[in-house]
Amino acid sequence: MIELNTVTKRYGSLTAVDTVSFTVTAGECFALLGPNGAGKTTIVKMLLDFTRPTAGSLSIRGIPTTDPACRASIGYLAENHRIPPSLSGWRYLLRCAELLDLSRSDAADQCGRIVELIGMQGREHAPAGTYSKGMIQRFGLGAALVGDPKLLILDEPTSGLDPIGIRETRLLLESLKEQGMTIFLNSHLLSEVEKLCDTAAIINRGALLVKDAISAIVRDGDTLEDVFVRLVKG
C-alpha cells in the first residue's frame, strides 16, 4: 500500500528525514513513532505531496505520491486540524465530499453517517468558531472518512481529545481496521498505539531505528514506551 524508498528530506543544512525506507501493506495498522522533531510529520507531508523529498521516492498503491491520483483513496487528518471558522462542521464535511466528486444526495447521506460515527449529532450545524479543539479534531477525523478511503493517514488523531474522546477514537479506528482499512498513524500516545497497531516504526533525528511488528518490538515484560525510550535515548 505505502512504499518509501531511501527517502531523504533536507531543509538547508538540516536533514529532517535521512534515507528512510519501509513499506506498509494493505489492511495493516501502522504507527510511526518518534520524539518531537524526529521527522514524522515530514514523512506524512511527503506522502501527501505537501513537500517533495530531496532524494528517494514514495508511492501509494504503486502510484508515485507526486501524482494526485494516488490521493483518490486517502483520508487525511492533519496535526492541529483546523476548520474555517465561518463554516459549520456539516458544511465542512459536505465541502470535503464535493471535492471528491460525490453527488449531493450521496454526500448528505455519507456526512449524516459520519456525524453519527464521530458522535457530533446536534452540534454539526454550529459554526466551527464555537467548537472546542476536541470537536474540531472529531470533525477532522470525520472529514478524513468522507469518500470511504482505503487508507487513513492520521497525524496525532487524539490531540486535544479528553480520555473519553481518546477511547472513542481508538474504538472507531479499531472498527475501521476490522473493515480492512489501512491505517497510518502518527502518535505520541504509545499505550494507545500498542493497543491498536500491528506494526510500528520508530524514527529519531530523521533516521529509522526500527520497523517491525509491535509484538516483535516489545519483548516480554517491556512496554512499547520502555522500548521507545531505550531506542531514542540510545
Binding site: L48, P68, R71, Y76, A78, A143
Partner: protein, 282 residues
Amino acid sequence: MKMPKTFPSVARIARHTFFDEMRQKSFIVMFAVCALCVFLVRGCYHGDYMVNGQHVDAGVIVRAVSKVTFHIIGAGVMVITALLSMRIFRRDRNDGTQSCVLSKPIARCQYVAGKIVGVWVVSLLFMFVLHGIVFLVTSLSLRDFMPEYLAASLLCSVNLLFVVVAVLLLSLLMPDIVAFLCVLGIGVVSFVADGISAVSHSQMAQAMMRQSGAAPHSDLTWWKAVYYVWPKLLGVQQSATSLLGSEPFQGFGSLYPFINVLLYCLVFGVALFRRFGKEDIG
C-alpha cells in the same frame, strides 16, 4: 473512489472561494461603503451646469460624469481586489483549507486556478454591480440608457484578472502587504504614465510645444520602451470607455492595452503555477 474531473474541481474550488469571500465582514462593509458612495454620485446629474453663461445639455453632463465615475470605480475596485487577493493563500494555510483540499485528488494547478477564478469573479461582480448602479441611476433619472457602460465594465475585468494573478504570485514571494503595495505601485505608475502621455498628446500641449519651438521626439528612448511594455491598466479602461462614444476606437491602439495586460496575466499566471508547485503545504 474516482478521480474528480479537472474542470469541476476548479469550479468547486472557485465556488468555495467565492462564498468564503462573500462571508467576510470586511468585504460586506467595503461593498456597502462603495455602493453608497457611487449612489451619492447621482446628485451630480441633477446640477444646473453653465459654461460661458450657457446651460450645458444634461446628456453631455451625464456622459462626462459617468465616464469619470467609470474610471474611479475601475481603479477603486482594482485596489479592493488587491486587498482581497493578498490574504487568500495565507488564510487558506491558517484555516486548514489548503491542506484539506490538497489532501484530496486535486492537483495544485487546479487549486490555484480555482482560487484565481473565485477571486476574479468576486471582484468582477463587485465592479459590475457598482457600474450597474451608475447605469441604473442614469437610466432611471435621466432616461439616458447606456448599455455599452456595462459592456465596458466587463472589458475592464481584464485589469482585475491581472491584479489577482500578480498579487497571488507576489504573496508567495514576499509578505502580503508588500505584495499589495507592489501591485498598487504598478497600477499608480501605469495611471500616472498614461495620464502624462494623454496630456502630452492633447491639443493644448501640442500647441504649447509648437509655440516654444520644441520639436516632439519621435525616436525610441529607453523610458518610452518601458512605457509601452509597462502594464497598461489605465489604457484598458480608456479603451473600454471608447465604447461610451466619447473617444473614437483607434484600431490596434485601442486593442494594444488588452493584449499587453493579457500577456502579463499569462506570464504571471505561469510563474504563479510554477511557484506554487514548489510550495510546502501545511
